[in-house]
Structure formats: C-alpha cells, structure tokens
Symmetry: C2
Subunit: 439 residues, 2 copies
C-alpha cells in the first residue's frame, strides 16, 4: 500500500440524470404540483415494483408506438448460482404494463372505476451513445373500468393535463396545445374505403406532418389507394370543424360523436388549449378510440410531451375480464430537462430553511436550540449554526444557502433576540413564539 | 389463433412489495411526514440515479456491517451487442455509496456543511427464497463537511429521528429507544489493553447481547484477552453512567467527551428516548466515532430500524479532500411493513377526494362540472360521477371509496344544491363558493 491515495474521478453515466439540490427542489415542486392536481380530481396513487417478469414485460400492452424503443434492462444477481430457477426480471419501461398486471392481480381488492396516478422512474435500454435518457420519470393517470368505461373520463384527461401544464413553475411562458382525435374516425373511413392494410396506412398518416403533400400522396398510392381515397383521407386529417363531419359508416360516426362529446366537455378551457385534430393517430394498434398528444405551439418539432388515449382491454392476457381504460402520461423528465436547460426553472434556495439561528458563543447553544425548536413547532424550517464562528461567517453561510432570515439569540443575558431580513438588511427585536416571517 | 384467451395469472415477485391504494396512501403520509421533519432542520433533498458503475458499488464505503449482504443486481440490455464497451452498471444497495460519488462529483457546486436527505429505493440481490425485501425504501440524512465536522451534527441526528419516529402515523403506541455510543471509547480501551486484533474483538462485542456471559468471556479468552481485560470490557459495555467514566488514554477520553456532549444536547428528549449504550458498535470498521441504532423497547430482537454514525472520510477514493460525515438511515420499508402487518396503519380512504359531485341526469352535467371546479379552486379534492346512474349507485360509490361528502346539483332548474355528510347522514342546502367541509 502506498501512502499516495489513488483517486477515481467520478463521471456522469450517460442517460442517468441527476440534479443539484436547488434543481431537485424545483423538481420536487413539480411533483408536488402534479400530485396535487391529480388528487384534486380524486385519483389515488399506487407504486409498483421497479421490475416485472420478463414475460410480463414482453406481453402485449403498453404504448407500442413506433417511436418507442422497447429495449429493456434485465437484472442479474452478481454472484448468481446456476440453480437460480427464478423467472428473469426486467426493469419496467413504462407504467402501463405494470398497471395491467397490478389491476389483474388485485382485481378483487380494487373499486372500479379504478382511478390511479403513478409517478415513478422507468428505464429504457438505450445505447450510451444515443444521448437519450435511460432512466426517467413518467407521471401517468389512467381510469380502468369493468366492461365499459364512460366517455366522461376521456374528457377528464385533457382538463387535468391542461391544469397541470399551464401552471407548472417555469412553464408560465410556454404556449402548449393538447391535440385530440378519435381513432374510430380514421378506422371507419378506411373501412368504408375498403382499405385492408390499415396498419400501413395509419403509419403513413402518422408521418403526414413530417413529409410533403406529394410524398404523402405517393405513399398512399404505393399502398394501392385510389385518387378518391387519397383525397378523402387528406380532407379528413385537414378537417378543423368536426361538427360538420358526416360518418361514412357506423364506426366513423361513433368516433365523430365521441370526439364531439369530449370537445364539448372541454369548452371551459382557454381558446386553443385543447383542439380536435384528426391528423394524430398515436401508435399503431394499441389505442382504440380517443387519442391525445401535447405539443409546444412554438416548437412542434420537439414532439409530444404528454400523450395517451383509450384502450379497449387493459389486462385481457391476465384476467378473464373485459377492462377498458383511458390514460395519459406526462413525459416528466424530458419536459423538466427542457425547462431546466432553458434556465426557466424558478430560482430556489439551496436550503429549505426559512431561518438560520446563529450561535453567538458556546454559552448560547441551549438558547439557540430552544429558539429553533419554537420556530419549528410553528411550522418553520430552521437551521442552527454548528459552531460559534465569527458572525460574518455565519451570515455568509445563510447567504450562500439562500436562507431568508437570520436569528440572533442574545450575546449576553437580558438582551433581546433579534432577527435580520437578509434581503432588506433590516434587523429588529423579536420573540420566537410570536415572530412570523414577512411575505 | 384460438378464440379462447390464454390467461397468465400474475403472481407477486418475491421480495418486491407493492401496496393497495389505501396502504400506499398511508405510505405517502409517512414520506410526507419524514420529509417535513428533515426539511424543518434545513436538510435539502437530492436523488441519485438507481445505478452506479459496478466499480463504484464495489469501492470501499457504505455501512459494511456484518449484517449487510452486499449482493447486488447488475443490469444488462436484453439485446446487448458485443461491442458495448460501457462500464457495467449495478443498482445501488444503499444511499451512502451514491452520496460519496455525488459529493465528489459535484464538490464545487455544493455548499458545506452539505446537509442532504434522500428517500429512494435500494436493491439487494437476495435469493428469492430468503423472504427478505430485495427492493425497499431507505430514508437517509447525512451531513458532510470539509476537513472537520462539528459534533453539533452528531447530536442533531437523534433529535431528528426521535421527532420522526415518535409521531409517524400508526407508531403512536410503539415504545422506541435510540441507543448511542462512540466507537473511540472501545477502540481507546482496546488500545490501552494492547489488543491487536481489534476487528475480532469488536465483532465479539457486537454479538455480546445475543450470547451468554460465559460464551462472551470464552470468546474473548480464545482471542487472547486476559481476565483483567475481559472484566474491563464487560464493565465498559455494561456502564450506564458515562459521566463517571475515566478514559484510559487520549482516544478513549475523546470518545467519552464526545458522547457526553451528544447526550447533553439531547436532554430535551423524553426520558429513555435516547440513551448512551456502550454495548453497541455498528459494523466493523466503517464508523469512527458516534454510532446509533434504534430498537423497539418491547421487541429488541426485531433489530435496529434506524442506524448510522460518524465516518472519517466519505469520498477519499474519489477526491483529494478530507470529507468527514455523520448520517443516519431509517429502514423505511421494513418499519412500514411491520406496522402494516400489525394492522396499525391509520385507516385511510381509497380516494383522496373530499367530495363526490353526483350527476342527477345528463342535463346537469355542466352544472356538476362547474360545482366540482369551484370546490377544487378552494383547495378541495373532488370527484365527479361519470354517468347519470341511479342515485343509490352513485352513493354506494362514494361509500366504497370513503369519500366523506356527496354533493347534489339540482335535479331541476331553480332548486338549491345540497350536500350530504356521509358519516352523519345529514343533508343540507349549500352554495359551492361558500361551502366548507366540517372537520
């Protein structure tokens, strides 16, 4: 052993973000805000384990959208023995697969409609070079019911999401739009047009925004669609007045009626907050009715920050019940990272303390502790300074940690306590049991 | 494809617990309570990724106590390619190893003393048969400083822990005790006794409570300790009046003085809440001064629910700085599980809603939504009923979800709104913007 220590300088692991305390404080504010709104609509919280069996992970389910890379992380005990017969475990890549398993497993203990929110980390096995998150938070709400699920809930989702996103701290200047469609409309039309390869056509429609009109028409033509069919699809996805739409068959009309109901229920939102937009399809075959995505109006290329929709059967492979659901998921970490890197997060202090009680000399320690405890009992967060250093140093500590008030116990018996407002510099006499911060 | 669905009944994965909504609500209350107390002492929050590099996990650090099984889970991408050159990643097994890495990595961006709390899941690669948790929450606080760390913080830890544990919902009837020692005392004595194999002797002292006096003496004798040395060790660990202790050398006296300081600072706690107890040593060579453990007075065999201590150098292998620290960790999930299985958790409702607004008929939908929004704006959690079902069914839903108030919009224009207290059955006229729940 040499005396010289060997130093392994730690470096960040690609795709696994972590924040400084003041950033984490803003992140906590976001979680608190989202939780408050979810609960204000009566959603209960659940958490599921970080892992599912690999079989469950691979089962049908989850937002199988083309843009979702389902590469997962499997777990292995470092010193695993050969006679480990356990099913392989993998970290969940979304919260829908776990929800399906949870709902089936606890079916008899749940009250339906089951309204739950879930805010957990999920993992995707991205290559380190990709620059994408490999561990991130999602905030999901879903409503699951037995046999049938009223459209009421399809309309509740965007109202909740609007309330959250329009008032997240740091998002005040962002202009966002929730785009809503109903897949029955396009599916109905394709059926009326006797299109068979609906998955291919849906995939092309999904791409329509990113390609030219000509490319779009060529792709449809390549897939055997007539000029008339092409025009009808183009007219549909460009339609801005859904109330004027006429269904070409029952399915299409059902989709139109459902979408009209949902939009009607959202009429209390500001103009442009939630819009019917028949060009969105979201994923390939998972959603069966209402679909949502949410974009920055001024930066649509950033993609959706909050998506979801209605699915016909959540957990059919787990339980012999028909469990339709509707849900939506905020891509929390991706959104937070955007606002963070744009320096728009609210400025927060490093310490959660409202007050630092200083220690003028060792004899005042008991008095310092007593003041601090009195203020805590009144609901304040209070730090006590750890040693009788020079007062200048103690004040500098409050300054650096962003603590707004400094409390001075008496330097000698009989003198009054004083408290200093660090912002204004004002210093006044105070009594702990009566004092309150200004604000 | 057959028409008959194949059903895979989901089963719990051993060691990965999950809770029903009402249990999770109690768990959230616990986290909220712990966070509130941590913050009331000025601790800031951080989170670290779920993974560290396997090298970091294997580096010295963390509570290397004999009872800690460090078997870890390593991650592997399911479809990994052979040219993945990345360092192996493993799920963290505690929050101390990540804290060390975090502190070194962000050293220049942190304000010292760095007081942080962390409440995350950790993972241990236990065998499925063991019945032990493989994924669980820990709630840690630590204070790290550069070069030296005042004893002030050693005394702050038990005060915080007492405040938390004595008022966790469901823990009201539990009688707990924080046992505190200082390893310098035993180390000093062993040095004065010229004992060389201090690790062996420490390990024996750690076991003293679980074996007979005779077994204890035999073990010490086997390790070459004289009758006189055995007696001195026995007297030491049985000592209940630390103020009467005299150090046999400088190190031992330092330990006694430090322990006396810590106990003095805790004199405001109820009798028996925090006790000096020289029989505890906690781990083998990680802690260097103050050590803590917390037991149920009426069930000491359950082991420690909250442990920690002072360490001399947190991150020496990462950074060329001397970073002493002191910390303590609540074994959250183990404690929660005990109170849960003893049916002592507070009874909580399934829904967070205070009010269910019913839907008397489809025409009243707009009125229902408007009442709900008014109540939400006043800070209440409100569910709206999804369809104009029979009133009896809507009331049954409120009952099952434990929603304490049901709001009735008028069945016809001009009639008043009414609200029913589900507990008392009392039903009165009400106006949304003025109404408040009784409490």
């Amino acid at each position: 052993m040499s005396n010289k220590k060997k130093i392994y300088k730690p470096t960040p692991i690609s795709g696994f973000p972590e924040w400084l305390p003041q950033e984490r404080k803003a992140e906590q504010q976001w979680f608190d805000h989202i939780r408050r709104v979810f609960e204000s609509y009566g959603f209960c919280n659940i958490e599921t384990p970080s892992v599912e069996t690999l079989d469950a992970i691979n089962a049908k389910g989850g937002d199988g959208g083309a843009d979702v890379d389902k590469e997962v992380y499997v777990l292995e005990r470092l010193h695993k023995d050969d006679n480990d017969k356990e099913a392989r475990l993998a970290l969940h890549f979304d919260q829908t697969v776990p929800l399906a398993r949870y709902t089936a497993q606890h079916f008899n203990d749940l009250v339906f409609p089951f309204k739950r929110y879930q805010m957990q980390r999920v993992w995707r096995g991205e290559r380190p070079q990709s620059g994408r998150f490999r561990e991130f938070y999602q905030c999901d709400i879903d409503v699951i019911n037995v046999d049938n699920l009223p459209l009421h809930f399809d309309a509740e989702m965007p109202a909740i999401i609007w309330e959250i996103l329009s008032s997240l701290p740091g998002m005040e200047d962002e202009n966002i739009k929730i785009r809503i469609s109903n897949r029955k409309i396009l599916m109905g039309l394709l059926s009326a047009l006797e299109v068979e390869n609906t998955t291919d056509i849906t995939r092309i429609v999904d791409k329509a925004e990113k390609i030219s009109k000509e490319q779009f028409e060529n792709l449809l033509a390549e897939h055997g669609l007539s000029q008339d069919a092409q025009t009808k699809i183009q007219n549909l996805i460009a339609c801005t007045d859904i109330k004027s739409l006429k269904g070409e068959n029952e399915l299409m009309q059902e989709g139109i009626d459902e979408l009209c109901f949902v939009m009607d229920q959202l009429s209390h939102l500001p103009e442009g907050a939630a819009v019917a937009d028949l060009s969105i399809v979201r994923g390939l075959d998972y959603y069966t009715g209402t679909v949502y995505e949410t974009v920055f109006v001024d930066d649509p290329g950033y993609g959706s920050i909050c998506s979801g929709g209605r699915y016909d059967d959540l957990a059919g492979h787990y339980i012999n019940k028909h469990l339709p659901g509707v849900g939506i998921s905020i891509g929390f970490s991706r959104l937070f990272e955007r606002i963070r890197t744009q320096n728009k997060l609210p400025k927060t202090s490093i310490s959660p303390a409202h007050v630092l009680v200083v220690l003028p000399n060792e004899d005042a320690r008991a008095e310092m502790m007593s003041v601090a405890q009195t203020l805590r009992e009144k609901g304040m967060n209070v730090e006590t300074f750890h040693s009788p250093s020079k007062l200048k140093r103690q004040l500098a500590y409050a300054e650096k940690k962003g603590i707004p008030y400094v409390w001075f116990p008496p330097f000698e018996d009989g003198s009054p306590h004083e408290v200093k407002n660090m912002e204004t510099g004002e210093q006044t006499e105070a009594v702990a049991k009566d004092w309150k911060p200004q604000s």
